[in-house]
């Protein structure tokens, strides 16, 4: 017999979309509903299967070219230029952004959701950075060289460490923008897989690691000593955890 919850709350719970009371309500239900418990396992199996099959199909280089070329020629719909309005809009957007940040700080948006959202953006930034011609960084395994390069660009002191002796050689660094902020990125290598560690200053307290995956990447995000770190890789999550511990022992 199907359970009434199967079509609604169960899905939301499985997708991590239920908050607070509704999640608690469903968990209470779950304790004595074998149907929902089994269904959750099935959903999880199906999701794993979908992810393992790597069904995501990215755009080909030819398509990118086809999209880029006409952009150079085509003009946006309204040809009237209105720089003044534009500047006002930009100022309004900046104010709005400040308001949102203040609201977030004031109301304590649940850290988890925000972290997951952010990690999602970071993975997207990583994918973006891997496109040809997008590299804006320095390739070096010298701590001082990478640190010096980042110094002028990241606007905050980046703790750069090479972990070659522990099996995580430093490959370089770059800067990227997440939610409009400059962040520093350190690139390590492990078993042929690059690990990108995104670093930026935070005012939040230290937090334990939180992990997740997006597209074909694993991420782990944590805060230590007023810095937030998010390490992303398409390699093993165990490697990510090992690197996290190494970084934490110095942070």
């Amino acid at each position: 017999m199907r359970c009434d919850f199967a079509d609604s709350l169960l899905q939301g719970y499985f997708d991590g979309e239920l908050r607070g009371r509704r999640a608690a309500e469903f968990e209470r239900h779950l304790r004595h509903c074998a149907h929902c418990a089994t269904e959750l396992v099935d959903l999880d199996l199906l999701r794993d299967r979908l992810h393992l099959a790597q069904l995501y199909e990215p755009a080909t280089a030819a398509l990118r070219q086809k999209i880029n070329d006409p952009l150079q020629a085509a003009a946006p719909a309204t040809a009237v230029s209105r720089p003044l309005v534009w500047h006002w809009l930009a100022a309004a957007a900046a104010l709005l952004f400040v308001a949102i940040v203040l609201w977030r700080v004031g109301h304590g948006v649940p850290g988890d959701d925000y972290q997951a959202e952010l990690a999602g953006e970071i993975v997207d930034a990583l994918v973006r950075s891997q496109q040809p011609g997008q590299m804006n960084g320095i390739a070096s395994s010298e701590e001082r060289v990478v640190e010096g390069w980042l110094d002028g660009r990241a606007r905050f002191a980046v703790p750069v460490r090479d972990f070659t002796n522990n099996g995580f050689p430093l490959k370089g660094g770059r800067v990227d923008a997440i939610e409009g902020h400059a962040v520093a990125v350190l690139v390590y290598e492990r078993n042929g897989h690059p690990i990108n560690v995104f670093i930026w200053p935070t005012r939040e307290r230290d937090s334990p690691p939180r992990t997740g995956s997006r597209r074909s990447f694993q991420w782990v995000d944590w805060r230590k000593g007023k810095m937030e770190f998010c390490a992303v890789s398409d390699g093993s999550p165990l490697d990510l955890e090992q690197l996290r511990q190494l970084i934490n022992s110095f942070a």
């Binding site: 199906l46 099959a53 999209i67 952009l71 085509a74 230029s81 997207d124």
Partner: protein, 176 residues
């Protein structure tokens, strides 16, 4: 080219172009053909560029995917109207698209999953692609597909159930 155009173009390149993969992936699964998906994605990107000034900040990926989706449906209406009109007749759809032979031929799981996904009606296919491949939140899916969040939840449930049964049970009327 004046300054404003350059600024506009730069903004477009920074905000929208990073989502070309997402655009192609959604188009590929909606029109079920790579070659057609390239055309549709390209058209959607051009459209989004022409109307970029209508985009007032927010989630650029959701905004672009909305345009991709609409372009796909227009394309389907023009090129495969049957597919859209049959979408509520789920049994029939399963029958016509995935014969037991095609499912059996699909050796590895990737092929099996691809075929099973492609047998789903477009509305269910897109919601699974957005959730499982693109990692969209319910809120984003609601914005892209223009349906309420509650409906996202129930559609996902039906879509997952259908995908599951397309994988487990051979389609109706299929006897080896």
């Amino acid at each position: 080219m004046n300054d404003f155009d350059a600024e506009d173009r730069l903004r477009f390149e920074q905000l929208v172009l990073p989502h070309v993969d997402a655009a192609f992936n959604l188009a590929r699964w909606l029109v079920r053909s790579r070659a057609d998906a390239e055309d549709v994605a390209q058209e959607a990107l051009l459209r989004s560029y022409r109307f970029f000034r209508g985009f007032h900040g927010g989630d650029a990926r959701a905004w672009l995917l909305q345009i991709v989706r609409n372009t796909c449906y227009t394309w389907l209406e023009k090129n495969r109207p049957m597919e859209l009109s049959m979408e509520f007749d789920e049994e029939l759809h399963l029958q016509t698209c995935a014969t037991p032979e095609t499912l059996a031929i699909a050796g590895d799981d990737r092929k099996r999953l691809t075929l099973a996904l492609e047998t789903l009606p477009p509305r269910f296919r897109e919601i699974l692609v957005l959730r499982e491949l693109e990692g969209c939140s319910y809120k984003e899916i609601a914005a892209i597909t223009a349906i309420p969040i509650g409906t996202v939840m129930s559609s996902l449930s039906r879509a997952r159930r259908q995908l599951h049964s397309a994988l487990v049970n051979p389609p109706q009327g299929a006897r080896p």
